[in-house]
Every structure is written in structure tokens, then in C-alpha cells.
């Protein structure tokens, strides 16, 4: 976490959270430009190794824009994604990484405001982290 502008990797989902992120753009709801999205079919498909890879190459935060209860594939999606977060945070702990750098929130297909709010809060949190590290 060396640059001043935190870089956030967002895992979004094709059918649910990606439309919300598109909608945020359509509505010109601004958020930091150092937020990058990689789309996956479902938030339960995200491998911990992908998240850890993002931290290893220099992302300051990873945000999972989860399907939540709107998942078109399974009603257990929320639990599955939470388990992925839990497992990844365990690895983060072992590697001495702050677990709060991984965040998950359910973002429905129309939750553009929620997405922008969550991302801005997460961004601010990461800025504080950077400042503390540099202090």
C-alpha cells in the first residue's frame, strides 16, 4: 500500500452486481477511478487464490459485490461467499495482512447507490490505513 490512491479490485457478478455498477455509471454516480472490476458468473465462484493474488500484486483492497439472496443459481450463495471470505481472511491473517482489506457486500442489480456508497467508504478506510502505515 505505497501509492496515495488506494487501488480496489471489485469482483462483480454478470447478472446481479455488474448491472448495478453499470447503472451507477449511467447515472453518473462518481466513485474513485482506481476501482477496477473483474466480472465472474457468481460471487460463490471466487477463488481465495484470486483474492490473494490481487493483494500480492499490489491491490490495497478487494471488494466482493456479492449476489446475496438474488443469486440466480442457489439460495446458499450468501453462505458460500461468506465462507470464501472467511477462508481468505484466514490466509490473510497468516500472511499478516489486515483482514478488513477484504470486504463483501450484497449488491443487487439496481443497488447502484449502495455500490457507490460502499466503495467510497471502503476507499476512505483504505486511505486511513495508508496514512497509519506511513505515519
Amino acid at each position: 500500500m505505497n501509492d496515495t490512491k488506494p487501488k480496489i479490485l471489485v469482483f462483480s457478478t454478470e447478472k446481479i452486481s455488474d448491472p448495478a455498477i453499470d447503472l451507477a455509471g449511467l447515472l453518473k454516480m462518481h466513485y474513485p477511478s482506481s476501482v477496477y472490476t473483474v466480472t465472474v458468473p457468481c460471487s460463490s465462484s471466487i477463488k481465495p487464490r484470486w483474492i490473494m493474488h490481487a493483494f500480492e500484486v499490489g491491490f490495497d483492497g478487494v471488494f466482493i459485490a456479492a449476489d446475496g439472496t438474488d443469486c440466480p443459481y442457489s439460495e446458499t450463495c450468501t453462505e458460500n461467499t461468506s465462507e470464501i471470505v472467511r477462508q481468505t481472511q484466514e490466509i490473510m491473517r497468516q500472511k499478516g495482512l489486515e483482514t478488513a482489506r477484504l470486504k463483501m457486500a450484497a449488491i443487487c442489480s439496481v443497488c447502484s447507490e449502495a455500490f457507490v456508497r460502499q466503495i467510497k467508504n471502503f476507499y476512505d478506510f483504505l486511505i486511513n490505513q495508508k496514512q497509519q502505515e506511513n505515519a
Partner: protein, 643 residues
């Protein structure tokens, strides 16, 4: 590997906020892309031909188009790839519009930098992309049409005519929606009820339409092609098998002691708890509004067809798609807005249209004969300081047409129009001229509020600084003020929340693309039509309903839908068969097989839906998803961070 990259300006949509020239140079200098071009509109015919030509002549192995959301043009460019001889899955779309230029229109440098990184990541995805063939899944040739107003009725008939089974689901007890509330309509002067009656008779002639009234979708599950919907049906409190005796039901209405405000007449009159909105309404049997019924039993004494013990029912239906035609609500002015609710004799256009029908010989309101009417336009629309910035489109025409009808019906009435500029577009311009020729007076202002309404001696007085007479202050005492109120989205719109249909800045349903995909939503298999999508007149509502019906039919009629072939696959060298993939898979898409002397998992391709839930649970990391492989995702992440 030869990769072609095409960066779209999207007119000024992308180019205004992203420095395309800088992006093109960066991609040329920092990547091994074989072709790098910027194009004004990648989706234009000429650009598509150019890409096809490049694939053929330069022997490209994969292409990347950096443009809008894949929700809009993924199928377009996959087809371009196919025309060039490439497998469509060797095409990657990078979204530098919704998720870059528009989201960061406040930060051109940041947006440009982000676009470069996104395209680089797209190139990496393309590098590891695989040639795939689509998978076909069964689709139910049935569509749930929600709303039996004019759009829903027309869509249902069209779908049935094309051979699709239709469940027409209407929340109210009667069909026809708003159109039944209007009498003569422009251009033909047919009444709304005549049109609805005609459609109803057409509707019941189709055996492949089932109509539910008093019904609402309360649960949905499944996905496009095979959606399960649960429908709650409110009781009508009329025995379904009773012999319909109109006289007895009319008697029941007569003896009902309960009187409530009649929503059909926008509160101008009262109705009973057992009611029909108008004679000849469909379905013909009345319904009992149980929210207000006191169960006194008076109706039972005169009509044996009534059953007050009925309970609500739930039905489970299977459909391939859902078509929404849920209509609009008229804008309800705030207390005091142009005198509404505070000054005597101020009503809305919708109330006025009902009033005209309720006054057959003489126009009377509040016990007084109406001789002069002031029409105040754009109430709740084109707001300069409110949330409704949009034009409601239908109201100028509806107001002018109503003013003509008033003069024709009552002869001794004078009309005064207070406008922001009349928008009777297209053929509707005729009635504007007709109104002027018959002596209607038009004032205009661009102020907000447009004019002021005060009460003097119990009568409304309208004050305006008239733009047409160089801002001259004008005061007009009138008998009645009619507020020309526009359209707003339905207040009670639970279906939208249930299906998570996106709404736009105007809070109406949002289509994928206004011009190119105007009735499709980002929710696969959910189509929108009529005024649920935004203000429309009847003709425009029917146009969109027919378009939505056609798209829905096209989706489900074949009995199958092609879905993404991005399914899971197993690295059998790593797999040790632990069964965890089968355990988590919602579709039981794994089986245990013998291979190379050991037990391994095998994906049942006909069952796998490509959700990828199995990927993170494999302890050996033996599972991957086609076109979402570790190689692809991790190389994308690398390029997103690399400066």
C-alpha cells in the same frame, strides 16, 4: 497470437471523458496487440465491416472491443467475430463507458488511465480465451404478462397469436387499466372502453391465454427460460360457478351500506364495497373490496352468487419469460401546488376527464356551472426544481383534446391554456390548431412555477407573466382550474422489487438501450412495455407492447435457449474425488468416474449452469471454468495493477 483491439469513441460518450488518442498510443506501445485502432462507433456498420475485414486479412486470433457494457453489444461483436471466421468466444468486450468514462466523468486523467488498464486486462483475457460452442437448455414456451391494461392486453394477444402460452396477471379485479377511465380518445374519438371491450373479446377467443384478476406475483425463482412464479389470487367473493344474474348483482350493489371514495373517478364520487367501475366492465361479475366490506350480509340476502367465506389462493406457474406492463400513476399535486387542495375548484386533468363523463348535459363542479376553464400545463413534469425533469409526452395532446371535447359538448365554455410551450407532436399538432381556431387562448411562461393560483371571492384566479405578450402580467378569474398532471411511476410496484428491474433517473423501468434494445432489461428474460418504462401515449404503449411480445416470443418459442458454454471442467491429474464439488453444486452436475486408475470428478455438461460454485471448494484446486480460468483472472489482475 494476433489480437486486434478496437477502441470506441462512442461519439462523445467515451471520448469526452477518456483521451482516446492517449489510450490508443499506450495500447500500441505497451502491449503486443497486432492491430490497434480507434473508431467513432464500433457498433456502426462500417466499423463492423472493418473488424471483419481485419480478422480475415490480418489473420487475427482474437479481438477486443473497448466500448460500452457487454449487456448492450456482446452479441453484436460476437456475431462480428463469427462473420470474420473467429469463434465468438474469442471476442472480449471491455466496458470503458458505463464503468469508466461515465463513472469518472469528473476525472479525465483517472478515466484515461483506467481505460488503458481495463483494455490491457481485456487483452490478457483474450489471450487465454477458448473457442467454445453455446449450450442449449430447455425453455418453457409460456410468458407471464403482468398488467392487463392496454399494453398488457395487446402483448398477451400478440404472444398467444404467435403460439406462446400466456398467463395474464392483473392486480386489480377488472381489466383495462387507465384507458378505461378515459372517454373519447384522440385521433378516432373511440372511447377507451370501446377499445378495451374489443381487446377483451379478442382475448377470450384464445385458448392459450389464462387471465387472472385480483392477482399478483409474490415469489420468483429459476432463470431465463424456466422461471417459477408464485401467484397470489385475492378472492372476488363471488361463487365461480354461480349463474351470472346481473339484476341480482346490481341489487346487491344497491343494498350495500358501505360507501368509500371511488378511485376510478379519482375521488369525485363514492362507490360501494361491492362494486363495478362502470357497466359492461370486464370481467362482468362485480367484486367485493374486503378492505372496506363490513360483512353485514345485506348483499347475501339479495344475491346467492356471493360467498364471503372465500380465501386467497396461491398458484405456482412455470414460464420462460416475464413481460411487464404495469403502467403508471398520474402525478398527484402537492397540497397548495397551483392551489391544489387549498383553492376552491382546482382539479387534475384525470379528475376533469371523469367529471366530463359524469356531467352529460351541463358542466357543473361544486354545484356551480363552469363557463371558463384555465388549464395549467406541465404540473409534475418538466420540473425545474423538482425530481421530475422529464416531459410526460401525452399531456399536451390530452389537454388540447379535452378542451376541444369540452367545447363540443357544452358549447358555452371558454378555454385558457397556461403552458411552457405546447408539445402536440406529430399528427397531434392538428388538434392544437383546431383549438386555436375555435378561440382557445394560450399563455406561455418559462418561470417555475409557471403561474400562480389564488382564491378571490371563492373563485380561482390565475396570474401569469405572459411570454407571448413580452412578459405582460395577466390575471384571469375562472370557474375551474385544471392541472395538466403528467405520469409518474407506479407507487405500489412490488413486482419491480421482486424481479430487481433497474429503474432510471426518472424512476421508470430502464431498458438496456433506448434505441437498440428498447424493451429488454438487464434481467435476462424480463421485458418491459408501455408506460411502466416511461411516459407514453396509447399508440406508443401499444408499439412497445408489440415489440416486447415479439422479443419474448422469440426467446421462448424454440423450446430451448442457448446459454453461455462457460461451464466447469476438471483437471483429472489433480482431482482426488472428495465429492465436495457435487455437494455444493445446486444442479448435481458432477459424477464420480474412473480415469487413469483412480476415481475423479466429471462434469455433466447438460446439467452444469456455469455458476462456478464448485471452484473454491475443491481442496486440490482441480476445477476451472471455461473462459474464467485462473490464468485469465490472474493475468487480468496483473494488468489492472501494472502501471
Amino acid at each position: 497470437m494476433k489480437i486486434g483491439v478496437y477502441i470506441c469513441h462512442c461519439g462523445s460518450n467515451i471520448a469526452d471523458h477518456v483521451n482516446i488518442e492517449e489510450v490508443r498510443k499506450a495500447i500500441q506501445e505497451q502491449t503486443d496487440a497486432y492491430v490497434v485502432k480507434d473508431v467513432m462507433f464500433a457498433c456502426s456498420d462500417s466499423s463492423q465491416k472493418e473488424i471483419v475485414e481485419d480478422i480475415k486479412t490480418k489473420g487475427l486470433d482474437a479481438i477486443v472491443v473497448a466500448s460500452c457494457s457487454p449487456k448492450l453489444h456482446l452479441p453484436t461483436f460476437r456475431e462480428v467475430a463469427r462473420r470474420g471466421g473467429l469463434n465468438p468466444y474469442k471476442y472480449i468486450q471491455v466496458n470503458i463507458r458505463e464503468q469508466c468514462s461515465w463513472a469518472h466523468s469528473d476525472d479525465k486523467k483517472g478515466a484515461t488511465n483506467k481505460a488503458i488498464r481495463l483494455i490491457k486486462a481485456g487483452i490478457e483475457k483474450a489471450r487465454f480465451s477458448e473457442a467454445l460452442d453455446p449450450i442449449k437448455i430447455d425453455a418453457v414456451n409460456a410468458v407471464a404478462v403482468v398488467g392487463a391494461g392496454i399494453a398488457g392486453l395487446r402483448a398477451a394477444i400478440e404472444l398467444a397469436d404467435m403460439g406462446t402460452y400466456v398467463y395474464l396477471i392483473e392486480r386489480e379485479y377488472f381489466i383495462g387499466g387507465r384507458v378505461t377511465q378515459w372517454n373519447e380518445l384522440f385521433t378516432t374519438n373511440q372511447t377507451g372502453r370501446e377499445i378495451i371491450t374489443k381487446l377483451y373479446h379478442q382475448l377470450i377467443s384464445y385458448k392459450n391465454i389464462t387471465l387472472f384478476t385480483g392477482a399478483e406475483i409474490v415469489e420468483t425463482s429459476g432463470s431465463v427460460g424456466n422461471m417459477q412464479i408464485k401467484v397470489r389470487i385475492k378472492p372476488r367473493y363471488v361463487k365461480p360457478d354461480c349463474v351470472f344474474d346481473l339484476d341480482k348483482f346490481e341489487k346487491a350493489i344497491e343494498v350495500c351500506p358501505v360507501e368509500v371514495e371511488d378511485e376510478f373517478n379519482f375521488g369525485l364520487t363514492k362507490r360501494k364495497a361491492i362494486y363495478k367501475n362502470y357497466p359492461g366492465e370486464f370481467p362482468e361479475v362485480p367484486a367485493i373490496d374486503f378492505d372496506h366490506c363490513t360483512k353485514c350480509g345485506e348483499c347475501l340476502k339479495v344475491c346467492e352468487g356471493i360467498d364471503l367465506e372465500q380465501k386467497e389462493e396461491f398458484l405456482s406457474l412455470n414460464v420462460g419469460a416475464i413481460l411487464l406492463a404495469t403502467g403508471f400513476d398520474p402525478y398527484e399535486p402537492k397540497q397548495g401546488e397551483y392551489g391544489y387542495g387549498q383553492v376552491n375548484n382546482v382539479i387534475t386533468l384525470q379528475q376533469f376527464k371523469r367529471l366530463i363523463e359524469l356531467c352529460p348535459d351541463e358542466l357543473v363542479y361544486n354545484g356551480h356551472k363552469v363557463r371558463s376553464i384555465a388549464y395549467i400545463y406541465c404540473v409534475g413534469s418538466r420540473q425545474q426544481n423538482g425530481p421530475n425533469r422529464y416531459c410526460s409526452r401525452y399531456c399536451c395532446t390530452a389537454a388540447m383534446h379535452t378542451a376541444l371535447l369540452v367545447k363540443e359538448k357544452y358549447t358555452d365554455v371558454r378555454n385558457f391554456h397556461f403552458t411552457r410551450g405546447i408539445r402536440t407532436y406529430g399528427k397531434q399538432e392538428h388538434i392544437y390548431h383546431e383549438a386555436l381556431e375555435q378561440g382557445d387562448v394560450v399563455f406561455q411562461s418559462f418561470n417555475d412555477p409557471l403561474c400562480e393560483v389564488e382564491e378571490q371571492d371563492g373563485k380561482p384566479v390565475v396570474k401569469i407573466n405572459d411570454f407571448l405578450t413580452r412578459g405582460k402580467p395577466i390575471e384571469l378569474e375562472t370557474d375551474l382550474v385544471v392541472l395538466i398532471t403528467g405520469m409518474v411511476p407506479r407507487k405500489n410496484n412490488t413486482i419491480a422489487q421482486l424481479l430487481k428491474v433497474p429503474v432510471g433517473r426518472d424512476h421508470f423501468f430502464n431498458e438496456i438501450h433506448l434505441k437498440l434494445r428498447p424493451v429488454e432489461t438487464v434481467i435476462d428474460g424480463v421485458f418491459i412495455s408501455g408506460a411502466s418504462q416511461g411516459p407514453k401515449n396509447i399508440m406508443e404503449s401499444v408499439n412497445s407492447a408489440l415489440a416486447a411480445a415479439s422479443k419474448a416470443n422469440n426467446l421462448v418459442k424454440k423450446g430451448f435457449i442457448s446459454i453461455e458454454p462457460t461451464i466447469a471442467f476438471v483437471d483429472t491429474d489433480k482431482c482426488q474425488w472428495c465429492g465436495k464439488c457435487l455437494e455444493i453444486c445446486p444442479f448435481d452436475a458432477f459424477e464420480k468416474v474412473e480415469e487413469g486408475g483412480k476415481q475423479v470428478a466429471r462434469v455433466i455438461t447438460s446439467l452444469c449452469k456455469g455458476c462456478g460454485m464448485c471452484l473454491p471448494v475443491c481442496p486440490e484446486d482441480a476445477l476451472q471454468l471455461h473462459n474464467y480460468t485462473d490464468e485469465q483472472i490472474e493475468s487480468m489482475i496483473d494488468d489492472l495493477i501494472r502501471a
